[in-house]
Symmetry: C2
Subunit: 314 residues, 2 copies
Amino acid sequence: MDISDEVEAASAGSRRAIGRLLTRVERGERDLEALIHPRNQAQIIGLTGAPGVGKSTITGHLAARLARRGRVAVMAIDPSSPVSGGAILGDRIRMDSVLGEADVFIRSMATRGSEGGLSAAAPAAFRLLDAIGFDVIIVETVGVGQVEVDIAAAADTTVVVVTPGWGDAIQANKAGLLEVADVFVINKADRPGASDTRRDLELMLDLTATNDHSWRAPIVATIGTSAEGIEELIGAIDEHDTALEAQDLRGQRRRARTLLEVRSRVGLVVESRLDAALETEQISARIDSVAADGGDTLALVDALTELLFGFSDP
Amino acid sequence: MDISDEVEAASAGSRRAIGRLLTRVERGERDLEALIHPRNQAQIIGLTGAPGVGKSTITGHLAARLARRGRVAVMAIDPSSPVSGGAILGDRIRMDSVLGEADVFIRSMATRGSEGGLSAAAPAAFRLLDAIGFDVIIVETVGVGQVEVDIAAAADTTVVVVTPGWGDAIQANKAGLLEVADVFVINKADRPGASDTRRDLELMLDLTATNDHSWRAPIVATIGTSAEGIEELIGAIDEHDTALEAQDLRGQRRRARTLLEVRSRVGLVVESRLDAALETEQISARIDSVAADGGDTLALVDALTELLFGFSDP
């Protein structure tokens, strides 16, 4: 099937066609680019938080409910190990168990050792999914590590999930999640400490005026296992969406996604040139010598940038 | 004080001089480079794991005991938020409370929004600390996010800390921690599930033959609050150190650190050029247009690499 047929089939809802197009996007295939005509209409929801807070369950509930309104895609970004390769199935199973009969397209994207590749591919995947007619795109990332946080933060609305327990809100703050949150979720809110966590979050919100607009992130309590609080969460997301619209900030979020992609792609081009250079005999020998004798590392860096780009940093 | 005096004072043990030199290293100051003569004698121990597993407490215990053998430095790498800036004090307080009277030099390094800067500065800091006479350097990083894992993995011996509880070993695997571990610690081993976690780890070790040498990571149970298991952990680290030595692999670890630093520094140079380009009126307008109308992102990337480096990726 040629690409334009594939785009047509994907727009008509073929899961296999969508999957194949996303694979092309992940590979950064150029000929797809001319065929994508973004509608700029999909609502992109980012969902992030530490491992084990219940992101997949919340994502599943959100997706199932939002699927009543329109076409929903879920992108699960998985910081899976470069060696073991694929995604661990646990999250996917948890998500499936709450999705039930809902018609939701789910795709896992793994880092596979190249985080640059991920932050290039994710915004490109959003563009594709928007272009072929999805109304809602939920992107779920582990909220530790700059790349994962960047991707969730480039959504229209970013939801940060924490759980009760001493230090959890503080850990979220440390990971830089506080300032990217448009909405907070305290999941497993039936556990002890939920009200302390809420108080911690409120306090931290009081202390930091960080948002790019006059929005204060609301805090929603959920219990993932029983879907409690999911409707309230959807309400908070919708409210943020309305605020974005009212303040004409949706274009700003879109620009952030473009910037993320452009930066990452430039980085990937540089990385592949650098990889090749590092494997040449000349450079490799020089690295050996610096590593063994403690030669001048900065001079080696200069030599490399001179060789690769024709400039060195004084 | 001029730099060579500062190096002398630092070698003699002045904490303030060490601190000031590390600041120079973090800034990438060139004139320091010529004054550092690595001894290649410090033992570098990396300690990593998810937030909340008790890394700081374990680090504190390790540092206190190893300080009986020689000069110990701790580098706490903190993925603190670029907005809120500094490190949260909690970890430091936990570490101090177990250090007691031990003479240990502690330094926090924060990402401050530039993870590239961190993976450039950390290996350079190890070089400095080795050069001025430290015998043991413990580097503690949050084990989620490629940069943090890379830094811990570039140590001579990498310790991965997990806690009991379903999924924790699986999360560690997902984060890519399994294949960088030379030693596993199950901390809070008095909690329910510790034996399950051990079994999961053993199983995963059976399934993946990943190490660069014939070493199988031992699993040590600890209870951070009571220092139980710390002597056993030190034993495991020493054993790994002996194995490295016997197989002549210490140089390989040193080369990995040099590569990490060189790659990161080249990345930083590129990043600063890219930042400048992205702020020019011409490029900025093009990003606006691509973001708004869905123009060709890959063509924009080509234009950027052509402008910056004189090449584009076909």
